[in-house]
C-alpha cells in the first residue's frame, strides 16, 4: 500500500467535517466537526512526517493538539454562556446582530 492513502483518508475526513460544520446547527455538534477537521489535518501532518523522514510534521501535529485543547475549553465555555442566556445551543438562535 502506498502511504499516500493516509492522505486521501485525511482529505476525506476533513471534507466530512467541513460538510458537518455547514449542515449541523447544534453548536456542540458543529464544534465536534471542527475537531474532526483538526484531527484529519493531524493525520496528514503525521503522514508527511513519515514520508519525508523527519519529525517536524509530528511537532506541528503536537502543537495543533495543544491549540485544539485550548480552543475546546474556550469554545465550550462560550457555548455554555450562550446556552445560559438563551436556553438554546442552536447556532440559528444567536442572531441578535442580524439586520
Amino acid at each position: 500500500m502506498n502511504p499516500v492513502n493516509y492522505l486521501f483518508l485525511s482529505a476525506l475526513l476533513f471534507t466530512i467535517g467541513a460538510a458537518g460544520v455547514l449542515i449541523r446547527r447544534n453548536a456542540i455538534v458543529v464544534f465536534m466537526c471542527v475537531e474532526l477537521m483538526l484531527n484529519a489535518c493531524n493525520l496528514a501532518f503525521v503522514t508527511f512526517s513519515r514520508m519525508h523522514g523527519n519529525l517536524d510534521g509530528q511537532i506541528i501535529a503536537f502543537f495543533t493538539m495543544v491549540v485544539a485543547a485550548a480552543e475546546v475549553v474556550v469554545g465550550l465555555a462560550i457555548i455554555v454562556t450562550v446556552y445560559r442566556s438563551r436556553h438554546s445551543a442552536s447556532v440559528d438562535d444567536a442572531s441578535l446582530m442580524k439586520l
Partner: protein
C-alpha cells in the same frame, strides 16, 4: 523490488489501514448524520481512537498515546460534560432556515473533497523515507530535541496560550450574582407579608394508596392538586394522576358484576355518573391551576 519496497508499506499495515479506514469514515459520517448529539460524540470518539492507531502505525508513538489521552480522554469527556449540562435530549431541529441549505452544503462538501483528493492524487509524492532514521534515538527523544531547540519559542507561546485559555474558561463560565439570594427566614417573612401559603405546602401522594412524590394529592372533592408536587416535576410535566384509578376500578367491577348478573341498563348509567364526576373534578383542577398561577 528494493526500489518498490521503499514506496510501499507492509501488507499487514495495508490490511489494518483498509479495515480501520472504513470504520474511521463511518464514525465521521455518524458524527455528521446522527440526530442525537450524544451519538455524534460517541462516533467522533471512535474515529479519534482509530486515528490514534494510525499515528502509531505511522511511527508517531508519542502522538498516538497523546491522541488517546488528550482527545478521547480529556476533550471528548469535556464535550460529553457540556452535552449533559446543555441537555442530553436536545435534538437538532430539521426545519431549514435557509432554503436548500443542506443540499448546497452537501454539494459544496463533495466538490471540495473532489478538489482536495485530485490535488493529492496529482501531487508528485514520490519520496517515502520512513522514520527509521529519525526515530533511532527514540520517538520521544527526537521530538523533545526538536521542541526544546528549533521550536522552543513556539513551545513557550503554547504555554501562554494554555494559561490564557484556562483563565478564559473560568471567566466565561463564571456566573455573576447581581443580588443576594433570599435566605429561608426572608422567604418565610415574605410569605407571611403576602399572605400566600403561610403553612407548609400540602404533601404529595394519596394516603394509604400512593405516596410517590410525582403523584398529586387529592382535594376533598377527588380532584388533584398540583401544589402538592414539587416545581421541578411540575415544569417537566411529570405528574402522575391516579385520582381516576379508584373510580375506574369501581366501574370495571360494576361492569363485571352486571355482566355476571345479566343486567345491562344500570352500569351504563353508573359510568355516566362517574364520567360527569370526573369532568367536574377536571374543571375544579383547572380553576385551581389558574389560582396557583
Amino acid at each position: 523490488m528494493n526500489a518498490l519496497a521503499a514506496y510501499q508499506t507492509s501488507s499487514g499495515e495495508a490490511a489494518q489501514f483498509w479495515v480501520l479506514a472504513i470504520f474511521a469514515v463511518a464514525g465521521a459520517l455518524g458524527t455528521v448524520l446522527m440526530r442525537r448529539s450524544v451519538h455524534s460524540a460517541l462516533c467522533l470518539a471512535g474515529t479519534m481512537v482509530i486515528l490514534a492507531v494510525f499515528y502509531l502505525a505511522n511511527g508517531a508513538y508519542f502522538l498516538g498515546v497523546v491522541q488517546i489521552v488528550v482527545y478521547t480522554g480529556a476533550v471528548m469527556m469535556l464535550f460529553l460534560f457540556v452535552l449533559m449540562l446543555v441537555g442530553i435530549t436536545a435534538t437538532d431541529s430539521l426545519k431549514e432556515t435557509i432554503k436548500g441549505q443542506r443540499w448546497w452544503a452537501a454539494a459544496c462538501g463533495i466538490g471540495f473533497g473532489i478538489l482536495l483528493m485530485a490535488g493529492i492524487g496529482n501531487a508528485g509524492l514520490k519520496d517515502f523515507n520512513g522514520l527509521a532514521a529519525a526515530n533511532k534515538p527514540g520517538n520521544v527523544h527526537g521530538l523533545a530535541e526538536l521542541i526544546f531547540t528549533k521550536y522552543v519559542f513556539a513551545f513557550e507561546l503554547t504555554g501562554a496560550l494554555l494559561i490564557t485559555a484556562a483563565v478564559a474558561g473560568m471567566v466565561l463560565t463564571h456566573k455573576e450574582k447581581t443580588e443576594k439570594p433570599l435566605s429561608q427566614r426572608e422567604q418565610a417573612a415574605n410569605r407571611v407579608k403576602e399572605g400566600t401559603h403561610v403553612p407548609p405546602l400540602p404533601a404529595p401522594g394519596v394516603y394509604a394508596r400512593h405516596n410517590a412524590v410525582d403523584i398529586a394529592g387529592l382535594l376533598p372533592d377527588g380532584s388533584t392538586s398540583d401544589l402538592t408536587v414539587i416545581k421541578t416535576l411540575r415544569d417537566r410535566g411529570q405528574i402522575r394522576d391516579v385520582s381516576q384509578e379508584a373510580v375506574n376500578d369501581l366501574a370495571a367491577l360494576e361492569n363485571r358484576t352486571s355482566a355476571y348478573q345479566g343486567r345491562t341498563t344500570l352500569p351504563g348509567q353508573a359510568q355516566q355518573d362517574h364520567q360527569r364526576a370526573a369532568a367536574e373534578g377536571a374543571d375544579k383542577a383547572e380553576t385551581e391551576k389558574e389560582v396557583t398561577k
